[in-house]
């Protein structure tokens, strides 16, 4: 990374979000401001219900804030119309979920190919890229397996392959190790670390797990809708 102070990849500015439950308005995020530089590996921690997932969803462009703006590489995604926002996500965001969210009826390879069907790409190129990506996550020998035939850790690796196959700028991960045993979790975290360091992916990871958070290069805490502590961890 260059030493020159580049503008941050993600600029969250004055973002608020509340939900309506019954007749009641539940504030979740209040005037959040946050810059995420390109190439960062940010861990987002906080108690349950503090709004971690909500913030992550806003950055990933699957939810809209009530106020404020979120600019990614200069594009204010809060102003994009829905269909364009979908295209933006396809090109710019990779999703990693706690429960992997693979399509059970598709094989590992087909799951990884799925986001590529949204890119202009012929069948063969699609297949080759998906295969290469599965090999990258260490599942070259499991391509034809269906999710139900894979362990949790393997499924999450397929999900990670799906997230990076389109070569997005940002990876968002909501408790990616939350459903895994210690060993598999470590493998997944090591893989994410490689994606960050070797491939330069910007990663925002929500986690409850202190040990997982320590794999991130910086950690932020959300509490009662406010982003307050910001501790830089030594690499």
């Amino acid at each position: 990374m260059s030493g020159v102070a580049a503008p941050p990849l993600v600029r969250v500015a004055g973002v608020s979000k509340s939900y309506r439950r019954g007749g009641q308005v539940v504030p979740v995020l209040a005037d959040i401001t946050l810059d995420i530089p390109g190439g960062a590996f940010l861990g987002l921690m906080g108690p349950s219900g503090s709004g971690k997932s909500t913030l992550l969803n806003l950055i990933a462009g699957i939810d809209k804030p009530d106020a404020g703006s979120i600019a990614v590489a200069g594009v204010d995604i809060t102003r994009l119309p829905e269909a364009e926002l979908a295209d933006w996500r396809a090109a710019n965001v990779g999703f990693i979920f706690q429960f992997y969210n693979l399509m059970p009826v598709l094989s590992a390879l087909e799951n990884v190919e799925l986001p590529l069907t949204l890119a202009r790409m012929d069948r063969r190129e699609r297949r080759e890229r998906a295969q290469a990506t599965l090999e990258l996550v260490g599942l070259g020998d499991r391509m034809e397996h269906f999710p139900s035939e894979l362990s949790g850790g393997q499924q999450q690796r397929v999900a990670i392959a799906r997230a990076i196959v389109t070569d997005p700028r940002i990876l968002v991960a909501d408790e990616p190790t939350g459903d895994l045993d210690r060993h598999s979790a470590e493998e997944i975290l090591a893989l994410m670390d490689r994606l960050n360091v070797d491939l330069g992916k910007t990663i925002v990871m929500v986690t409850h797990d202190r040990r997982a958070a320590e794999r991130a290069h910086s950690i932020m805490h959300l509490e009662k809708g406010e982003l307050f502590a910001h501790e830089e961890l030594p690499r």
């Binding site: 699957i62 933006w88 969210n101 399509m103 009826v105 598709l106 087909e110 799925l114």
Partner: protein, 388 residues
């Protein structure tokens, strides 16, 4: 960008039982729908095959059927002498002055007496019906008390074998042969010599006059002249049109009843498909949220679930149509409503029925899948993902 079709297809395969049951319901509807149309097509084809394109059939004005018609000898002579009528060997006009009466014969399977058409045919009668061929025995001899029976009569009635005798019109008639009229209405008739039958039934007049036109294009001119001739009280039709008109009432009844039934059943099948698809959307809410997060648009989700419903309908269509095709092996008989005589025909599959039943199935698929697909497309991404 659409969600790959494989996704929709695999999901149908993944829930085999539900798919089978839902598609089965649609198959049943397609079966009824196609079978009814096949029945109608079979009826029409039997009756239309009966008429030759260059034959005309003359009956008494507004008689409707040959049974109710009467054409006396003078009138028949006028018709016979028209210049449009084709001439056979020796310059004889190719004409058959025919008499048609009904008798009751016992059916083979039930023993129930059923009306059968007896046709007394003139000398030109066979030249006018090239579709008719002897299947067994020989043709009746003019002037003899002999008859031949159509193929379906031979199959479906008792006591009509070659060599057996029938008693009607105060006489005994020897059955000397069985003929095949190519699936036309003549297959359900008994034929004999016209003059003999007129004597036996003491009928002084013919029922109809059938004539071959030298030039089928001269029909309109001939029809206009004969129908306005003050000596005649006749109606002139092309033979084919005459038989088509005969089938109209029954054909309408079959189609209206059949289509009404199909539409009523289809409501059930469509609701079944809708329930199945709503369940699919509910079960796959998190998947829908995931697809949207990956960048598939609402329209893509709508398309995927609509495609799933339509594929389901296509499975039903294929099964229903296959079952309906088997019906072609079944021969059925019914009363010809115009003549109240037995008329046998087959369920007949036509390309039109294939296309119409396909459209019908697609309509069921779209109708059943649309609302669930809209629900899937309208899900909020975050809400859908939280449903995991």
């Amino acid at each position: 960008m659409p969600v790959p079709l494989a996704y929709s297809l695999r999901n149908l395969r993944a829930r085999k039982l539900t798919t089978a049951l839902t598609a089965g319901g649609m198959a049943l509807v397609v079966f009824v729908f196609a079978a009814v149309l096949m029945l109608d097509a079979g009826l029409k084809s039997a009756l239309v095959k009966t008429g030759q394109p260059d034959n005309i059939l003359v009956t008494r004005r507004s008689a409707g059927t040959e049974i109710q018609s009467a054409v006396d000898r003078q009138q028949a002579a006028v018709i016979e002498s028209q210049p449009e009528v084709a001439l056979g060997p020796g310059g004889v006009p190719i004409v058959s002055k025919e008499v048609v009466v009904l008798i009751a014969l016992p059916k083979r399977d039930s023993g129930v007496p059923t009306n059968v058409t007896i046709r007394g045919v003139g000398p030109g009668g066979l030249a006018l019906r090239p579709q008719l061929a002897m299947a067994q025995g020989r043709m009746y001899r003019p002037g003899a008390s002999e008859v031949v029976v159509g193929r379906t009569i031979a199959e479906r009635f008792d006591g009509v074998g070659v060599g057996e005798r029938l008693r009607f019109g105060g006489r005994e008639w020897t059955i000397v042969g069985t003929f095949d009229a190519g699936g036309s209405a003549f297959d359900s008739e008994v034929w004999g010599d016209g003059e003999q039958l007129m004597q036996a039934f003491r009928r002084p007049v013919f029922s109809s006059v059938v004539a071959k036109l030298a030039d089928p294009g001269s029909f309109e001119a001939l029809k206009a002249r004969l129908e306005s001739d003050p000596r005649l009280t006749v109606e002139v039709k092309r033979e084919r049109a005459f038989y088509e008109d005969q089938s109209a009432a029954l054909s309408n009844f079959i189609s209206i009843l059949g289509v009404t039934l199909s539409v009523i059943f289809s409501i059930g099948a469509t609701i079944g498909a809708m329930i199945t698809m709503y369940a699919a959307v509910a079960n796959r809410t998190a998947e829908i949220g995931t697809l949207r997060a990956l960048g598939f648009r609402r329209a893509g989700i709508l398309g995927a679930f609509l495609a799933e419903a339509v594929l389901l309908a296509l499975v039903g269509w294929a099964a229903g149509l296959a079952a309906a095709s088997l019906m072609q092996l079944v021969q059925i008989s019914t009363l010809n409503w115009q003549t109240f005589a037995e008329l046998a025909f087959r369920f007949t599959m036509t390309p039109k029925i294939v296309a119409e039943s396909l459209l019908f199935a697609l309509a069921m698929g779209v109708a059943g899948g649309f609302l669930p697909a809209v629900r899937a497309a309208r899900l909020g991404i975050v809400d859908a993902l939280r449903a995991a």
